[in-house]
Symmetry: C2
Subunit: 362 residues, 2 copies
C-alpha cells in the first residue's frame, strides 16, 4: 500500500471508500433529498457560512469555472492575485470567458501582500473582482493575508473570489467572518473523499453580480444549482457514490472536531518541515508563509527530480508530487492534508531519507 503523499487526491479512509459501495439511489427521490441536505448543512459548517453552497459534480477546476463564469462578464476588469500555477489558472479562466484580468504576481515561494493588492485596485477603478488562491498547492505557500486581502477588496467595493480548494476543510477559512463572496473547495483534498465533487459558496453580493453577469453558462450555472438544491435535487445527475462517501467523511470530520482537524494539520505540517530541514533540505516557501497542507521542497543539487520521485515510488513505496511547469525539476512536494497521521508523515520522511541515501546523498 503506497504512502500517497501528494496534495490531492488524498488517501481515502477505508470506511469512507466503503460508504461509496451503498446501493445506487434515485437522484430525484426522497432519499437523495435527505442525503443532499445532510451534506450541505454540514459542509456549510465547514465553510463557516450561511451562504448558499453549491455541490457540483466536477473537479475543483470546475468549481473555479463556476466562480468565474457566474460572476465575471466579458469585458469586466478583474485583479488576479497569483503566487503560482493555480492563481494563473484563474487568469486563464477569466481570459477564456472574455474578462480582462490584471495579474498581480508575487514571486513563486512568496505570499501575496495586501498592501500591494490595495494599490493595484487603486490603479484601476474599473476592477470588479479580486480572484485569489488561498493555499497555493504548486509552491507550498499559504496566502496568510486572506483576511487583509478580503478587506482590501471590500474596502473598494470589489467582489472577492477565493480558491480554497486545498485549504478549506484542513485549515480554517471563516467565510462569513471574512465576508468572502465566492469560495471554492474540492472533495479530493481535506475532505478525505475521492475526486468528483466541487463546492462553491455564494454571498448575496455575489448573487447580485451573477444576476448582471452575461457570461454563458449551463452545467456550472449556480442559479440552476440553487433552484434545484432548494428542492432537494441537483440540476444534473450528481456523482452519487462520491456523495455517499462525502456523507461518511463528514461524520468522521465532526467526530474529530473542526478545531482538532485544524490543529492536526498545523502540527503535522510543522513535523514535515522540521523533518525535511533535518535531512538538510531547503523549503521552497519563504519562512512564515509555508502551507500547512503541502510542503514544497527544493530538489537538492546533484539529484534529478525525476529520479527522486521514481526512487521514492518504486523502492520506498511513497508517492511525492513533482513541480509543475517552470518548477518542474526544481521542487518536489510532500502532501499532508486530509486523512493524514503522524505515521503517514514519519513514513514519508523516512522514505525521503532512504531515497536521498539511495541517490548518493545524505
Amino acid at each position: 500500500m503506497p504512502n500517497l503523499r501528494i496534495p490531492g487526491p488524498t488517501p481515502v479512509p477505508s470506511e469512507v471508500a466503503q460508504a461509496g459501495t451503498a446501493e445506487m439511489i434515485n437522484h430525484r427521490g426522497p432519499e437523495f433529498a435527505v442525503l443532499l441536505e445532510r451534506i450541505t448543512d454540514r459542509a456549510k459548517r465547514v465553510y463557516q457560512t450561511d451562504d448558499f453552497l453549491a455541490v457540483l459534480s466536477a473537479s475543483g477546476t470546475g468549481g473555479m469555472e463556476a466562480a468565474v463564469s457566474n460572476h465575471i462578464s466579458p469585458g469586466d476588469h478583474v485583479l488576479v492575485v497569483t503566487v503560482g500555477v493555480f492563481g494563473e489558472r484563474f487568469t486563464q479562466l477569466v481570459q477564456a470567458y472574455g474578462g480582462e484580468p490584471t495579474e498581480l504576481s508575487f514571486e513563486y515561494g512568496t505570499a501575496a501582500d495586501a498592501n500591494r493588492v490595495d494599490k493595484a485596485l487603486a490603479a484601476d477603478p474599473d476592477i470588479r473582482a479580486v480572484l485569489f488562491t488561498h493555499n497555493e498547492t504548486s509552491t507550498g505557500v499559504a496566502n496568510v493575508q486572506l483576511k487583509e486581502i478580503a478587506e482590501a477588496a471590500h474596502g473598494r467595493d470589489k467582489l472577492i473570489i477565493v480558491d480554497a480548494i486545498s485549504s478549506l476543510s484542513s485549515l480554517p477559512v471563516p467565510v462569513d467572518e471574512y465576508d468572502l463572496d465566492v469560495v471554492v473547495s474540492g472533495s479530493q483534498k481535506g475532505w478525505m473523499v475521492p475526486p468528483g465533487i466541487a463546492f462553491v459558496s455564494v454571498s448575496d453580493r455575489a448573487w447580485e453580480a451573477a444576476e448582471r453577469c452575461t457570461t454563458p453558462r449551463f452545467y456550472f450555472d449556480l442559479k440552476r444549482a440553487k433552484e434545484s438544491q432548494e428542492t432537494g435535487q441537483t440540476p444534473w445527475t450528481p456523482a452519487v457514490s462520491v456523495l455517499f462517501q462525502l456523507d461518511h467523511a463528514l461524520d468522521m470530520m465532526f467526530e474529530e472536531g473542526l478545531e482538532q482537524i485544524y490543529d492536526r494539520h498545523r502540527r503535522l505540517a510543522r513535523r514535515v518541515r522540521d523533518g525535511v530541514r533535518a535531512l538538510g533540505l531547503d523549503l521552497f516557501a519563504a519562512e512564515g508563509v509555508e502551507s500547512d497542507t503541502v510542503t514544497a521542497i527544493k530538489v537538492p543539487e546533484g539529484i534529478e527530480a525525476r529520479a527522486l520521485l521514481s526512487t521514492a515510488r518504486e523502492q520506498f513505496d511513497t508517492v511525492f508530487a513533482g513541480g509543475q511547469r517552470t518548477l518542474n525539476g526544481k521542487i518536489f512536494r510532500f502532501g499532508h492534508l486530509g486523512y493524514v497521521t503522524d505515521e503517514h508523515v514519519d513514513d514519508g520522511l523516512k522514505a525521503l531519507e532512504s531515497t536521498l541515501k539511495q541517490l548518493g546523498r545524505g
Copy 2:
C-alpha cells in the same frame, strides 16, 4: 434492497462498486496513465470508433455541454431534432452559448423522421449542425432512424451531434459506420457505473469545427482533454474512484460480449413491454419506436402518478421514475438498462401489479 427501475443512475454490480474502494492513486502518475489507456481503448470499442474519446468528470449533461461549446459558435444556425426533454436540453444549451437553434419537434411518444430532418435542412442552408437524441429517456422513444438522420445531415455537409447517453453501451451505436461526429454517453447508464463520468467522441470533421469555434470553454475544452489524454492524464483531477469502477465494469462488459449485451437489452425490453400490456396498461411510445432501455407507461385513469410511485417504492420496494415537465403525472417510467436481469424485470412487473391492486385497479 430496493429494485431500482429508473433509467439511470442504474444499479451497480457489487464487484463494480467494490472496485471503487481501491487505494487512491496519483492522477499524474504512471498507474493512472495505464488505467486511462485501458479505459479509453475499451470504451472506444463500445463506441465502435477510432475517433478520439474524451473522458470527462461530469454528468451526461456536462458531456452535452462539451458537444455544444466546442462545436457551435455564437450565431451558428443549428437544427435540434427533439422528441422530448433531453432534445430540448440541447436547445437550451445552444441558446445558452449563443447559437441559433431551429427546433424540429416531433410529438412526445413519436420518433424523429429523417425525411423531415432533410426538409428542415433544405429550408435553411446556414445550418451547420444537427443535434439529436438517440434514445429519449423522457418519453421512452428510440430514434430508430439514427443512420438515416446522420445520412441526411452529411448529405448536406452538416455536423451530426448525438446524445447517446442512455443508449450507447446498452444498444449498438456504430459511431464510425454511421459516421457520427460527436457522440455523448454517461457512466450511470448502460455502463453499470455510478454517475460522474461522461464520454464524448470527436470525429475529424468535428475537430475542424472545434478549431473554428469561438465559444468560450475551459473545463469542457475537448482540445485540452485530447492533449492531456495523449500524455496519459486528464487536464483536471478526474473522478478516480468512478474510473476504477468503470475499469471493472468494462471487464464485465467484454466478458459478457457486446452482442450479448445488446441482445439482453432487446429481450428484456420486450419482456417489460409484454408484461406491462398484460397488466392492461398502455405504452406511451408509438409502436415500433419503443426504447429498449426504458419503457414509458401511461398512468392509468383513476390513479395518481404520485401515489403509484410512492406505493411501489414504500410498499413494494421498487423505484420507478415519474414523468418530467409536461409529462409529470401522465406517465411513469420503467428502466431496464445496464446491470439488469430477467429477475429484475419480473420483480419490477410484479411490484407494478401489486401497486395497481393496492390502488384499487387490476
